[in-house]
């Protein structure tokens, strides 16, 4: 299963980071290929992404289900299930205070293509996950730091 973990230091207090990450609407458009998302309830949402798989670009719809929202540990975990593509996965955001004005934000994302050609799709997706995670994490960092400025 292709998995990526990306960490960066946000120059902001942990509460500010957590407050930002807790509002999905704020950072959702930072995900590469983001088209839209629709919240079904507190935990579930449908995401539409236009993403590259190898040389191809496809529109995928995914259901995201938040499985763990821990305000104390500053951690959000979620599961992903493909609607129009056979894929499952999940992810985690964890915020850890480093100092009064520094927070380590960790983003873990894993996704597994299913079906007969799943192994092939996974090979194509693997090199793409890290840049996607990095771009999103860096945009979140920039946005939080801009809010703090």
């Amino acid at each position: 299963m292709p998995q990526v973990e990306y960490k960066n230091i946000v120059n902001a207090p942990m509460d500010a980071v957590w407050s930002y990450v807790s509002v999905i609407d704020k950072w959702a458009p930072f995900l590469k290929g983001y088209v839209k998302h629709e919240e079904l309830n507190d935990k579930e949402s449908i995401w539409t992404l236009k993403g590259d798989v190898g040389v191809l670009c496809r529109v995928v719809e995914m259901k995201v289900n938040i499985t763990d929202w821990d305000d104390d540990a500053k951690k959000v975990a979620f599961e992903i299930e493909g609607i129009n593509e056979k894929a499952t996965g999940g992810g985690t955001f964890i915020a850890v205070s480093q100092s009064d004005n520094e927070t380590e934000l960790t983003f873990i994302l894993e996704i597994n293509a299913g079906g007969m050609i799943g192994p092939v799709v996974n090979v194509l997706m693997k090199p793409m996950l890290k840049p996607v995670a990095a771009e999103m994490a860096n945009k979140i960092k920039d946005a939080i730091e801009k809010e703090q400025a």
Partner: protein
């Protein structure tokens, strides 16, 4: 009159425009014949239309056939080709092709990493005199190639959007995966991809690209040829555009046009083609640049109404190069339990015929309404098809996506698609009667070994014909695809572009889809595009290098 500049920005002996099979073969051969070579490419990636293809080469009397003990002869091949070209191609051009393709292949395999093996594909009309079936195939398929050998240049190789798996034709046969892709060992394929292997057209182009890099030829990408530079009637270079500046490139021995067809140029299509191409299958850079340059020096044109037609379908949201991806129909139309119908619900073609030739009825026009008789049209299939075979990217047994229409009855399906319900119901009933007999008297589907090759050998009594009777029923709309146009400047047997007067234009050569191709209106067999492209690229380069 001349448009020769006071100063050239780049100078070379032979300038090649385009990086498909014709272009890179030309570059390698020109270099090995002592010429300094530059290659320019309009897009940002190397590989041209060939990268998007199966990478096969149709080559009568080639050395791989000889090694396998397969009989062939010049005479047999010529007899066959004449029935394909229907008198619309100069005989000396066909003869030159037959005489040179074995030599070209041997040279390329001896001097580059490019390697082929005999496939088992029949000629596209094996029933014609001189035609070969799959047991003595004239089609060669490329071996897989490891892109890692390209080093940093790997990122410049154009990937294949629809036939990108690192597989060979022989493996597809061995695994019986042509009609049943579910037989492919996808874990093995994933492992190969992880190692850097590629297959089909991408493998062919990767190997040619490596051959170029080994000769210190690295195509200059994002450079579009705009205009020929002519002095005293001789082509001596070009004007090209790089980003927002124009540059002059001299070519003392010759300019070789290998820039593809014009299937992405609306004005040229409207000018020359008798029907629409709404969904080209090639990269969107084939805009007739080479054709326009040839026309500017009064080249003699030929075969302008023809293209490598391919009935295609489109999965909503799927894009490549920023444009909707057009997926050509191969097994989807040739396997049992599927037919193609027009809006009246009527079949109008042998669905299993070669993709180029079965396309022709799509452009038929009603003489009263001037509407296309067979557009729009649809693939119509049943659950038996879906139980056994893949349709586009949908594997057997997988959920059928919304973009494929489905219904519990044929009439209901017809209503959803906008097909005449009575017409479709009657046609399906008639077709099922043909299935019972194992014969299709309307269109001879399943009559020859070509149709059987693309059918299912396990389907009895005819590998091409299967009942459409198990619900649910499915429909998917077709579009006019094309792997490229195949009309352009006529060329000599040395691939020199001919002037309207019939004499060669000094300094100008052409090979591949930019030209009036050697197969004329039809198609010899799988690889009937790339084989001539490489062969006339080879001839052009040898002639130019000697100037």
């Amino acid at each position: 009159m001349t448009n020769k500049p006071e100063k050239w920005d780049m100078e070379t002996d032979v300038l090649v425009i385009g990086t498909g099979a014709a272009g890179l073969t030309s570059a390698i051969v020109a270099k090995d014949n002592g010429a300094a070579v530059l290659v320019i490419e309009k897009s940002g990636l190397v590989g041209g239309t060939t990268s998007a293809s199966g990478g096969a080469v149709w080559a009568p009397c080639n050395h791989h056939m000889t090694e396998k003990g397969i009989d062939d002869s010049r005479e047999e091949a010529l007899v066959y080709c004449k029935q394909i070209t229907k008198g619309r191609v100069p005989e000396e051009l066909v003869e030159k092709y037959i005489d040179t393709v074995p030599e070209m292949l041997k040279f390329m395999e001896d001097t580059t990493p490019l390697k082929f093996e005999v496939a088992t594909m029949p000629d596209y009309h094996p029933q014609f005199e001189g035609g070969h079936d799959g047991k003595d195939s004239r089609t060669l398929g490329p071996l897989t190639f490891n892109k890692m050998e390209l080093g940093d240049s790997m990122a410049k190789l154009r990937p294949n959007p629809t036939m990108g798996l690192p597989l060979t034709f022989a493996e597809m046969d061995e695994w019986d995966s042509i009609c049943k892709p579910q037989n492919v060992d996808f874990e093995l394929i994933a492992q190969r991809m992880g190692e850097g292997l590629c297959g089909f057209g991408e493998a062919l182009m990767a190997a040619l690209y490596k051959g170029c890099l080994d000769r210190d030829i690295d195509p200059i990408v994002n450079t579009r040829a705009l205009e020929l530079v002519v002095d005293d009637g001789k082509v001596i270079g070009i004007i090209a555009r790089q980003e927002d500046k124009e540059i002059y490139i001299s070519a003392s021995k010759g300019v070789i046009l290998a820039s593809g067809g014009f299937e992405w140029n609306e004005e040229l299509k409207n000018t020359f083609l008798p029907g629409e191409i709404t969904h080209p299958n090639s990269p969107p850079y084939n805009e007739g640049d080479g054709l326009k340059m040839a026309m500017s020096v009064n080249a003699k044109l030929g075969n302008m109404t023809e293209h490598w037609g391919w009935v295609s379908m489109s999965i909503p949201g799927e894009e490549v190069d920023g444009r909707p991806l057009s997926r050509g129909s191969l097994t989807e139309r040739a396997l049992p339990h599927v037919i193609i119908v027009n809006k009246k619900g009527k079949r109008f073609v042998n669905e299993a015929a070669s993709y180029n030739d079965m396309f022709k009825p799509f452009w038929e026009v009603n003489e009263n309404t001037l509407e296309y008789k067979n557009l729009p049209s649809w693939h119509v299939f049943d659950q038996q098809f879906h139980d056994k075979y893949a349709f586009l990217t949908v594997m057997p047994g997988e959920d059928v996506p919304d973009y494929i229409l489905q219904a519990d009855t044929i009439k209901e399906l017809a209503e959803k698609a906008g097909i005449d319900p009575e017409g479709l119901a009657n046609e399906v009933e008639k077709f099922n009667g043909y299935v019972e007999k194992g014969e299709d008297p309307d269109f001879n589907r399943g009559k020859d070994v070509f149709d059987h090759y693309w059918g299912d050998a396990d389907n009895k009594p005819n590998p091409s014909l299967g009942y459409i009777k198990k619900p649910p029923f499915y429909a998917m709309q077709n579009y006019c695809g094309s792997l490229g146009t195949k009309g352009g400047p006529r060329t000599s047997t040395d691939a020199q572009v001919l002037h309207m007067s019939g004499v060669p234009i000094p300094g100008l050569y052409a090979a591949g889809n930019v030209t009036a191709v050697v197969s004329g209106p039809s198609y010899f067999g799988a690889g009937g595009t790339i084989g001539p492209a490489m062969t006339f690229g080879y001839l052009a380069a040898r002639h130019a290098a000697k100037q």
